[in-house]
Amino acid sequence: MTTTLERPTAPPGGGDRKRRMPGNGRLLLGVLVVWVLGWAIFQGTATLEIGGADLTDFHLWLNSIRDGFDQARAGSFFFEYVIGGISAVIDATVTGLRDLLSQPSFPRPVPEIGWLGVVAIFSWLAYALAGLRSAVMVLVGLLLFGFLGYWEDSIDLLIVTLVAVLVCVVIGIPMGIWMARSRRATAVLTPILDAMQTMPSFAYLAPLVLLFGIGPASAVVTTLIYALPPLARITAHGIRSVSPTTIEAARSMGTSRWQILRTVQLPMARRTIIVGLNQCTMAALSMATIAALINGPGLGQPVAQALQSLDIGNAFVSGIAIVIMAIVLDRTTTAASERAEVATRRGGTPRSRRIGLIAGGVVALVCVYLSRLYIQLAQFPAEPDLGTPLAAGVTAFTDALVRAVSGLTSALTSVVSTVLLNPLQSLLAGSPWWLMFLVLLAVAYLAGGWRPTAIALVCLLVILGTGLWNEAMKTLTTTIVATLAVILVALVIGVWMGRNRRADTAVRPILDAFQTIPPFVYLVPALALFGPTRFTAIVAAVAFGVPVATKLIADGIRGVSPTSVEAARASGTTAWQMISRVQLPMARAAVVLASNQGLLNVLSMVVIGGLVGGGGLGYYVVAGFSQGQLFGKGLAAGIAITALGIMLDRVAQYAAARYGRR
């Protein structure tokens, strides 16, 4: 779901190069030997370590740019009317919708439309667009928001998400179309989209508020930055993959480019674009907690607030409400796209359905009317209250769990840290920078050839320029360990799910939940179990990386041709042989993809890791958001994370293209 640098077109991979693989393996070993020797000799020199409060010229320069903005904002035409105009429009839209649906609309003590009306309208919309099953789902979901005790915050989040997604559609779909039609546009936009997706939002949150004000506009823009890239990328991919013969046929009939786009490419790419919309929505939801830090309305508020008083129960309940919203939105948009497809094929709506729609509409209107009249139908009732007992139960359970296993988990923390993390970190961050620089370039070359080496060179120079080399190496250490853990866990669970339908049905909802629940929710229990250490940061990253990777591997295993499996079974292989000799090798591409996505998700948790003792770049990003003087250093850390992410992603992609497909 969320942090994926979707790049559907595979980079060029050399088919004949794979014969060099064994040679590369030996070279890689050689690099390792040189590295360890170099480390043994030069250890601790030229590591470019800097103190917590130290600032480089680059950091100070970033600070001065921020101050320049701050000074210029009063009295500048651009800031006051262009940016100010944009934020005024967004603010007015969100505030208008909140008055209508969720917040007391002065002088009324309640919103214009009460909860019953809201439930009725949304259920009817779901029925009209996606069918009865979705209508029931929406109905249940909305009622659950109320029963959990977060009616207003939930509807607020829904409003902010929908407005952000709408803006995404307005910008992202044309952008995707443009990228599909122009190579140059792709070349220019791809790195920008990469940066938008990998740059941690903490790093630019404060200056964003400088521009768009404390209010819904900033929340929408923050969300937009993160949620736009998947939509643009997937749209471009969808249009690109429309079969050229169809386009050729249309062209031979004398249709103009614009007509081809409108009547051939867009309709045929429709399904893919809806997938993009889906990803965009999920990404938007995952920004809820971050947006709450700048007063963005919605469910992020109770999550962030609960963290202040370490209230695990309430953080969990409001987090679950976000999960419910994600699931309902995901399933409804999917159903809507399928229905639209069926409807176009059949042409027209059958009479009975039309009657149903009209009747439903009338009922919905009656509900709206009633909800304007009666306070009980306007203000969500306090009973039945599912939230309070659930929160109490979760708190009690976590306390008991912590008491029972904290001895065990702290032992695990210290073993992993001393045996694995400390030596590895000493090797990466304790080597002189020039040695690490060369080692990383050599690895990039051996893994993927010249192109990723060139990209790695640029990224490493950027990291060097941010003045945070040493911190970047510490972050690289935890990233490597976390990614390996993700792959290991995903392989075990994914293979199990792929081979066993029942396991799949049982595990998948848990994976969905872990993908959408804000990490803030499980940080407190993780801290109680593992303490403020790098290991806790790794645990959080693994919790977020495993779901995507596991699903991809499970799907890959299931996709292995049944005939091969049957043939192998007939020749009497054991279950273990089946997995290791048949299923995994044949699902190789899926495993490679899973590792790549797992890696990106791990990287997107670097900042969250900084909140729980992960140190490295993540901590500076957080500190930069909290302290004015450290803003430049935080932004520099954000840039370094982006560079690290792009480097790892590209090297992994080229390596996968070279070795992944046989």
Binding site: G52, A53, R73, A74, P109, V119, A120, S123, A135, L139, A206, V209, G213, I214, G215, L293, N295, Q301, A304, Q305, Q308, S309, L310, D311, P350, S352, I355, G356, G360, V363, V366, C367, L370, R372, L373, Y374, Q376, S406, T413, S414, N422, V524, A528, G531, P532, T533, R534, G610, V612, G613, G614, G615, G618, Y619, V622, A623, F625, S626, Q627, G628
Partner: protein, 326 residues
């Protein structure tokens, strides 16, 4: 066809059920949100920043509750960090920061240079920053509260994160810490490790006290957690005026902060009752801890917690109100 009919019936049933839930009680009878006081017109709107810690929340909601219920102001709370709050004073998005911890850089930028913000005096709370140990340690090793003995105990504080030295757990990213300089200048065999958030610090101290594990960390008062686990402060060389002038050479304790109120210049110029109330607002650390405890530990809604304290302390509240209505 049949299936569709079934669907339709089901839909009607679902909507019908929701309709059946309808009862009496006209919306006009609903109580108005503001408790009245009859001066709504003259008070206007108060934009109160909520910085992200519970003590701040307590102060802000007490002032907000009094403004709303006694003066009839419309109060809007904005959840933002310190820097963003100061920033927002330029365009009237934020009127009040009710608890400010120093922040000389922001004072310079917004009070001295841009003149968009002003100091509205102390709020009575005294902020203490320093190094703390869990109470069990202070009991077992009474001399640990003197910094001179810290090196003796460094081995106790070793962790997987501190690379052979004792660990000094820092970590609320909101404050500038001098701790790296302090460790160096006091020749302590310790390494500063960044926990990264207040939640991480609190959880670490909580586990340390529960499991009798050694921990030395950066912390501060007033803080609701102190009423759960009364941490004990380690005495560093005492603070003297100017001993922290050069950040690289600091070898003394943190100063005590007389926490103050920051208000937007435009808010001062309007000179309404809300400003006068904020200006008059003053209470003690104990007062704040009481309200903060209601919020953090008794899980009360901040407004209710504020109401509880206001109802129990009419003298203090009336003193502020007299100033506000003067």
């Amino acid at each position: 066809m049949e299936l569709r009919a079934v669907r339709r019936v089901a839909l009607m049933a679902v909507l019908g059920l929701s309709l059946a839930a309808c009862g009496g009680g006209n919306i006009q009878n609903a109580p108005a949100p503001s408790g009245g006081g009859g001066q709504a017109a003259s008070c206007g709107k108060l934009n109160m920043a909520i910085n992200p810690w519970v003590g701040y929340e307590a102060s802000a909601h007490v002032v907000g509750y009094v403004a709303k219920s006694k003066l009839g102001c419309e109060v809007e709370y904005k959840n933002v960090k310190e820097e963003v709050a100061w920033q927002g004073m330029g365009n009237s998005e934020v009127d009040v920061v009710i608890e400010n911890w120093g922040h000389p850089d922001l004072v310079q930028k917004y009070i001295t240079d841009q003149k968009t913000a002003q100091d509205a005096g102390v709020n009575g709370n005294v902020g203490v920053i320093g190094w703390y140990v869990p109470p069990w340690m202070a009991q077992q090793y009474p001399d640990i509260t003197d910094w001179n003995n810290l090196n003796k105990y460094a081995d106790l504080f070793k962790t997987t994160e501190s690379g052979g030295q004792g660990q000094l757990l820092d970590g609320d990213p909101s404050f500038v810490t001098n701790d790296e300089a302090l460790v160096k200048n006091l020749n302590l065999n310790y390494k500063v490790v960044y926990a990264g958030s207040e939640a991480a610090l609190i959880q670490a101290f909580r586990q340390a006290e529960a499991n009798k594990k050694p921990l030395l960390g950066y912390f501060y008062e007033p803080q609701w957690f102190m009423s759960e686990v009364p941490l004990v402060k380690v005495n560093l060389p005492p603070y003297t005026e100017g001993c922290d002038a050069d950040p690289a050479k600091i070898a003394c304790d943190y100063p005590k902060y007389d926490l103050n109120k920051i208000v937007a210049t435009k808010f001062v110029e309007a000179n309404g009752p809300a400003y006068k109330l904020v200006k008059a607002f003053k209470w003690t650390n104990d007062d704040q801890n009481l309200v903060a405890k209601s919020i953090a530990e008794d899980k009360m809604d901040p407004d209710q917690a504020a109401q509880k304290w206001v109802d129990a302390n009419p003298d203090k509240v009336n003193a502020w109100l007299q100033a506000a209505q003067a």
